[in-house]
Symmetry: C2
Amino acid sequence: MARVGLTPDRLTRAGADMADEVGFDQVTVSALARRFDVKVASLYSHVRNSHDLKTRIALLALEELADRGSAALAGRSGKDALTALADVYRDYAHDHPGRYAAAQFRLTPEAAAASAGTRHSQMTRAILRGYDLDEPDQTHAVRLLGSVFHGYVSLEQAGGFSHSAPDSQASWSRILDALDALLRNWPTTEAG
Amino acid sequence: MARVGLTPDRLTRAGADMADEVGFDQVTVSALARRFDVKVASLYSHVRNSHDLKTRIALLALEELADRGSAALAGRSGKDALTALADVYRDYAHDHPGRYAAAQFRLTPEAAAASAGTRHSQMTRAILRGYDLDEPDQTHAVRLLGSVFHGYVSLEQAGGFSHSAPDSQASWSRILDALDALLRNWPTTEAG
DNA sequence: CTCATTTGCCTAAAACCTTTAGCCAAATGC
DNA sequence: GCATTTGGCTAAAGGTTTTAGGCAAATGAG
């Protein structure tokens, strides 16, 4: 029998593509085997199990997202950087909904440690260099930005903001304006 | 044979409990039948299929969350209300991780329309009565708050903020401070 | 180039989940 | 009491996951 040339990487990329096409939770070892016109058991030489496959897809998505983030941040600072990184997340989720869903796959602590998670928080931290925040407020702000980016994009993807005025793009722009204003004027204690 | 007394509601509640115990994605028609010591096919008289079961659990979680939100908001306004509602989400996710995961289950448009989604956005809007925002900024702010609540809680649940200083509670408090400050001082246009 | 080894895809099979169809007994209502 | 509805059952088909063991294709050493 001629060999198809399966590798963990090819399977992962094909799985990611499949996720974008039919949804991350529809990605299955069986479906992937079908796509390569190969018997299901053959995949188990390259991937430990279904969970492993999904983890790999999640890690791929996180890497891709971090790569795009780095590229977008290069040469930018301040609000320009803020907007650029925010748009990377939103655009990625829009262009690659399955990959974005994969990026939210619950990783084991080991997988999480080996993921691009650190790169992501460092990118957000890089943005904050354009603002005047000391620790621990800088970390609080990193978490706030992460929450807004992730939260907004998730809610938008779930359809939360469609079919109602104003349109989502308008809210997105204003929210980034507001975050920029907030970071420039971060409250010290109780600002009465 | 004696009847067990299954109903869609009992199945839904049992499914929600199971989600909290073993995770929402482990909730399966088979597992639920096992829990009631009943044959699998019996459940199909009460629930259309697996997807229907999950949708019902999601709707239950959204209702419970809205109920808690209403209770927490009663008699509160301003930052007090903001904190109260925010804590409802965070505490619910902490106490009922499976239900919270269910609340993020992708609903069909019809199910979403019949869900407590509207109650949720109205609760957030009620908070904003304590601040001075006109449309469309009020809607933008509703979306921002929803994003932060959902985003923060999701990232926290995924383990994003554990094992690193400052602790998550500190960030949560400061983020709510910051949101309060932002809402009190919402930028009008370009605040140069 | 040949032969030994490794590797890749195969068949087979067991275990589990989903869903439908049709049956019988228990509950319900006149 | 009896007819009807309803709830849980058996049976069965189809799909997914995963392991075990086999054979042929690729690879590398002499």
